[in-house]
């Protein structure tokens, strides 16, 4: 049974490789479309048929539970045939190159491929070799557009708007595609973006991203409406980016004391998975100001919106 769709939004490009290049109108169009799917996902009958007959392939070169599951559900709820290929599968382990994999899949006429890869730019490289649409589910440290979209949707639903909100993104900015996509999107929609991290976790040149930069959590969280925490990978200790999780948590981890530096009604977000006790403590992650669970819910809706919006320009749509 179809819900009467109010939005006729169409994404006029073949791929979604990043937030870079999307206009504010396009971003808002995706968010508005996603709102409809939020409502749909809360019904018992979630099935749509807009992607019936279409083939969606999830091609994940990097392990992911939530993003892959989120895309799989999104595709199935829209009626597509969904196939999952992840790094555990044999041909990837046999060392087949990225491009050979793309050419092989392309020969099977998929409509949409969702790709996650550990190398920045790999998804764009693959997109040039296929005839279908490609969605970037995260490429290296470069972009993760659907994460930024679901974060924006979550913020808008809780704060009513995005423009003129102060958003503090805290943590390993250097290695984070989530940070980059969010910075671009939030700036496009008029928010005031601040990044907080030790200097060793900030990219050289970050000042030119249109963000305020600080190495101090008290300064960084002052007047923040949204506090977005990023995961710190354990490998960062080996690379001498930060000396230990204890020191990191002491100076940069989000606990009740530091959250109090932000506005009293500030809300906490995290793209997951969390390292409890490293960048965020359990009391905050599970507390009243946390939006972390809602982000996951918004993820499915946003991915449905992206699939829907792209599919409206597929051949034979």
């Amino acid at each position: 049974m179809n819900i009467a769709q109010k939005s006729t939004f169409v994404l006029n490009q073949r791929h979604l490789l990043g937030i870079e290049g999307l206009s504010p109108a396009e971003i808002l169009g995706l968010l508005d479309l996603a709102e409809e799917f939020v409502a749909l996902n809360r019904q018992i009958e979630k099935k749509q048929s807009s992607l019936r007959g279409r083939t969606l392939i999830n091609l994940f070169f990097e392990v992911s539970t939530r993003t892959q599951a989120s895309f799989e559900l999104a595709g199935k709820r829209l009626g597509a045939d969904v196939m999952n290929m992840s790094v555990g599968s044999s041909s990837m382990r046999k060392g087949e190159t990225l491009i050979d994999t793309a050419i092989t899949l392309n020969a099977m006429h998929p409509d949409i491929i969702v790709v996650r890869h550990h190398a920045s730019g790999a998804v764009e490289l693959l997109a040039r070799k296929v005839d279908c649409s490609v969605i970037n589910a995260g490429d290296g440290s470069h972009e993760h557009p659907t994460q930024a979209l679901l974060d924006a949707l979550t913020i808008r639903r809780n704060k009513g708007r995005i423009e003129r909100l102060t958003v503090a993104i805290c943590g390993d900015i250097l290695h984070s595609r989530v940070a980059r996509s969010n910075i671009i999107l939030l700036n496009a929609l008029g928010a005031r973006v601040r990044v907080v991290a030790p200097s060793t976790l900030l990219p050289v040149g970050i000042e030119r991203f249109g963000v305020e930069v600080t190495r101090d959590m008290r300064e960084g969280l002052r007047d923040a409406d949204i506090v977005m925490m990023l995961r710190l990978q354990r490998e960062r200790m080996n690379g001498s980016f930060v000396p230990s999780t204890q020191e990191y948590f002491h100076y940069f981890g989000l606990d009740q004391r530091k959250l109090a530096y932000a506005k009293p009604d500030a809300l906490v977000m995290h793209p997951g998975p969390m390292n409890r006790g490293v960048e965020i403590d359990s009391a905050v992650a599970d507390g009243a100001q946390s939006l972390i669970r809602e982000q996951v819910e918004m993820g499915v809706a946003v991915r449905m919106a992206v699939l829907e919006a792209l599919s409206r320009t597929l051949p034979n749509a």
Binding site: P198, T200, R215, S240, V242, P243, E247
Partner: protein
């Protein structure tokens, strides 16, 4: 540790030298409640509180207590070589009122708990101030940065790799970047260990004649050059722990001219001795970095005179007899110096190579400024860490009289001129020469 009751002290009729403000006057210095009250001519009986101890300093010099920026103290782990207590006794006898100690102890000072241990041991057993440096990398292994934030919060005054260099430039870069966020100072020993190899003294004709493997000055200069590039890249603060040669001074000069936040120390040994002093394989003169050629020594002294070299330190390194009583190449490197640093430095003053003010400044005010310590000055309200020096009295060093547990001094039986006659820490006399 001080059992004497603290009374006000008036140091009268002395030559008061305060390098923190280039003050050189004849007068009286009043100390009370652990701080400097006044420094001026003719304070007189009327100006002093009741019960003041009046000490006649006629013919003597009164200066801020010395701050020794590099001393190895054996706690924890090497108490047989030196303890905080014995080092403090040696320091007091040498006019050093603050010891900045190295972290290459056992265990290494790379954990806030160990910083805390050192501070508590000092509080309980030391008669002078002790400021511990912490390790820049975990275990001083050179591969992972130590917890600079937490260590500084626990009381570490600066960070160093001890008597070694961090050879991984990426680790050094990240450490400089990270330390900058905490306004933490990195004090780096500059010596490329691969070039040093088996070297045991300065490379050159003298080493060749003695049949000893030499260490070229390039081992130091190359590492210093690398570090200057990293400092420029990271815009951080940096202190070169021990420079010994003219080529390094050139690198330092260019770095300062470029505006980099760089300062440097030289050890009293490299300022007053050269490779020839090794003589017939005298292991008390075996140092690391090694004593250099006379040209390097004079360049170092000139650099100190001009302020290019900011700090003089003792590089106090107690080594027991067994380690030194071996063929030169096998012997341990290092010399003690807490007790003799000032006296040895006075040689340069007596030979007119260096003004007294400059020497004292490099041993007190400059270390205080660089480390952000309250001492090194006789300004009103500053800590009453003061010494009285007799510039002229001649004496012969008898190692048995030295207070350090180890007696490996390069000035064994040397004729010296000038000594500390009184050391006051926090307003109490902790050493007096009678």
């Amino acid at each position: 540790m001080m059992v004497t009751e603290r009374r006000p002290i008036l140091l009268a009729n002395g030559r008061i030298l305060d390098p923190s403000r280039d003050l050189d006057i004849h007068g009286d210095l009043l100390l009370a409640d652990g701080v400097v009250r006044e420094a001026k001519r003719g304070i007189g009986a009327a100006g002093v509180p009741e019960g003041t101890e009046v000490i006649d300093c006629k013919g003597k010099v009164v200066t801020p207590g010395l701050i020794d920026m590099r001393a190895f103290v054996g706690e924890p782990g090497a108490e047989y070589r030196e303890t905080i207590a014995s080092a403090s006794q040696a320091a007091a006898a040498g006019g050093v009122t603050t010891i900045v100690c190295q972290p290459d102890t056992s265990p290494v000072i790379d954990d806030p708990a160990i910083v805390d241990f050192v501070l508590r041991r000092a509080r309980d057993t030391s008669i002078v101030h002790v400021q511990p440096m912490a390790a820049l990398t975990k275990g001083l292994r050179g591969d992972e940065m130590a917890e600079i934030g937490l260590l500084k919060a626990a009381g570490a005054i600066a960070f160093t790799q001890g008597a070694k260099s961090v050879t991984n430039a990426q680790v050094m870069r990240r450490a400089l970047t990270y330390a900058r966020d905490f306004d933490a100072l990195i004090v780096h020993h500059t010596e490329d260990p691969d070039i040093v190899g088996e070297g045991v003294m300065n490379e050159g004709e003298f080493a060749a004649r003695l049949g000893l493997v030499g260490v070229p000055t390039a081992a130091e200069t190359i590492m210093l050059e690398r570090d200057m590039r990293l400092v420029a890249l990271t815009e951080s603060r940096y202190h070169a722990a021990s420079l010994t040669c003219a080529e390094s001074l050139e690198v330092l000069r260019r770095a300062k001219e470029q505006g980099l936040q760089v300062t440097a120390s030289a050890s009293i040994n490299h300022l007053t001795l050269n490779e020839i002093d090794v003589g017939p394989y005298r292991t008390f003169l075996k140092l690391s970095p090694p004593l250099r050629a006379e040209d390097d020594r004079t360049a170092l002294v000139a650099a100190l005179a001009s302020g290019l070299i900011d700090v003089v330190m003792s590089d106090h390194n107690p080594q027991d007899v067994e380690g030194k009583r071996l063929p030169f190449a096998e012997a341990s490197a290092g010399a003690i110096g807490l007790e003799t640093m000032l006296t040895a430095g006075l040689r340069l003053v007596h030979s007119a190579e260096l003004p007294l003010m400059t020497l004292i400044k490099a041993m007190s005010s400059r270390p205080a400024e660089i480390l952000g310590l309250a001492g090194g000055t006789l300004r009103q309200g500053s800590p009453a860490d003061v010494i009285v020096v007799d510039l002229d009295s001649p004496w012969v060093l008898d190692p048995a009289e030295l207070k350090s547990k180890c007696k490996n001094t390069p000035f064994d039986e040397a004729r010296l001129q000038g000594r500390v006659v009184r050391t006051i820490v926090a307003g109490r006399t902790v050493y007096e020469y009678v």
